[in-house]
């Protein structure tokens, strides 16, 4: 996926991406300080926001193959189960009950399938929205800090899950997170944004362990004190 001269103005904020390439079939991490434009960029990719200028080459990906889970996931005014199978409903697919059961179990929601999704804790809602995004086998999954409220065990669990899935049939992932150790464990590539601009890209190792770019080095150094 290639973004060229992509621009979006929101109030005083100005996102400008000269040229950014995201290789398909890989796990990409997006990092940068608060308000640098990570969510905005991803919303442009997911089509929930329209760019002012520039182009995105999806390399054959169709809008229906792209999904994004939000920082605060949207929960339907309905049960956990109905939320989970909603994307299947939209496509007229009958849910495969054993698979659904498996997803619920993984999210620790097996005995809450009838509960109202809005009454779940924020971590539970995040897990559910993650499962809901994957259940219809999309080709590009954008995860905007959706796993930020998970406990360490659950985070590991979901990481294992992603890598396992990636090993069998690889799709493209874009993860936004401030948890650098988490990104380091799963990402193939990391991209750094600052003030609406794309400053650097590289492998997880290059970017997080030996950053060449000064801004990245400063950012990573500050973060590692907090969470490494």
């Amino acid at each position: 996926m290639r973004m060229i001269e992509l621009e979006k103005k929101l109030g005083d904020f100005h996102l400008q991406i000269r040229d950014l390439y995201l290789a398909p079939g890989r796990i990409h991490g997006l990092i940068g300080p608060n308000g640098c434009g990570k969510t905005t960029l991803c919303r442009l990719l997911a089509g929930t926001l329209i760019a002012d200028a520039g182009s995105i080459d999806y390399e054959g990906l169709k809008p229906r193959d792209i999904t994004m889970t939000a920082q605060k996931p949207y929960m339907l005014h309905d049960s956990v189960y109905k939320n989970l199978v909603y994307p299947l409903r939209l496509r007229g697919i009958r849910p495969d009950e054993t698979r659904v059961e498996q997803w619920l179990a993984r999210c620790g929601l097996a005995d809450k399938r009838k509960q109202s999704a809005r009454s779940l804790s924020s971590g539970e809602q995040q897990k559910l929205s993650f499962a809901r995004a994957l259940i219809f086998d999309p080709q590009l999954v954008i995860v905007d800090e959706t796993l930020s409220n998970l406990d360490p065990d659950s985070t590991r669990l979901f990481e294992g899950w992603m890598l396992e899935r990636q090993a069998t049939r690889s799709i493209t992932w874009i993860l936004i997170s401030h948890q650098l150790p988490h990104l380091f464990r799963v990402c193939d590539e990391i991209h750094f944004l600052e003030k609406g601009r794309h400053l650097a890209s590289g492998t997880a190792e290059q970017m997080l362990l030996h950053p060449a770019n000064d801004a990245v080095r400063r950012f990573v150094a500050e973060q590692s004190v907090q969470s490494w």
């Binding site: 929930t48 193959d65 792209i66 949207y74 005014h77 939209l90 809005r118 219809f136």
Partner: protein
């Protein structure tokens, strides 16, 4: 003895002012006016949310004004339309339940439309973005928006119903407060008051209060189910 006196009082009272008929008239009238206003109000509210045109803000503001307009003014306006020489005179709806329903639809539709519109505006961005990321089609997205405001629709309908049964001005003006035909519970009370018959008025008043209480309970019920919305 006391028993006979009591039942005697009640049968007199019921036939004198047509209490049973007034209850029937109120129920029939409010049923039709709320049904019609709900269909119109929900459709117009959703349409107003989706439509983008110059002057939309004026329309929204006019609608808000209508929401707060004194019913008696709407009653007068309806009367002008419906009277013999008026543009809708051929319907011959003055002094009929149809005429009262007509006026009430003009009062309640803006109320329901306004409630639906402002709620739809509030949740639409989140619902649209969600629908997009789930791969919903245009039609599926529209349907989702309506489904996501199910409770709000109930709430609006119940509010409209409360408005309908409690309203006096327009009903008086159009219906004419004719005993056994267009006399509603509220207009009965005002008639009784002029006749100095307070007990009967209080009886109907208490009945109306009980209905209002039930309606309020329903409205609260739908509001409560929606609260998780507010704090996220």
């Amino acid at each position: 003895m006391a028993d006979r006196l009591f039942s005697g009082f009640f049968s007199d009272f019921f036939s004198m002012v047509g209490v049973t008929d007034s209850i029937r008239v109120t129920l029939v009238m409010s049923f039709w006016s709320v049904l019609i206003s709900s269909v119109l109000g929900v459709l117009l509210g959703l349409l107003l949310q989706r439509a983008q045109f110059a002057g939309k803000r004026i329309v929204v503001r006019l609608n808000r004004t209508l929401m707060a307009a004194p019913p008696v003014v709407i009653g007068l306006f309806s009367y002008m339309l419906l009277r013999n020489k008026g543009p809708l005179g051929m319907l011959e709806w003055v002094f009929t339940i149809q005429g009262m329903v007509f006026a009430q639809v003009l009062i309640i539709t803006p109320l329901i439309c306004g409630l639906i519109h402002s709620y739809a505006e509030r949740i639409a961005p989140a619902v649209y973005a969600f629908a997009k990321t789930m791969g919903a089609t245009e039609r599926q997205t529209r349907w989702l928006l309506l489904r996501e405001m199910k409770n709000e629709v109930y709430f609006a309908v119940v509010t409209g119903y409360g408005r309908s049964i409690s309203e006096v001005g327009a009903v008086f003006l159009i219906g004419g407060n004719i005993k056994n035909s267009t006399r509603t519970m509220t207009t009965t009370i005002s008639a009784l008051k002029s006749a100095g018959d307070f007990e009967a008025g209080i009886f109907l008043g208490v009945l109306l209060m009980i209905m209002a209480f039930i309606i309020q309970c329903l409205a609260d019920h739908f509001r409560k189910e929606d609260t998780p919305d507010e704090d996220d």
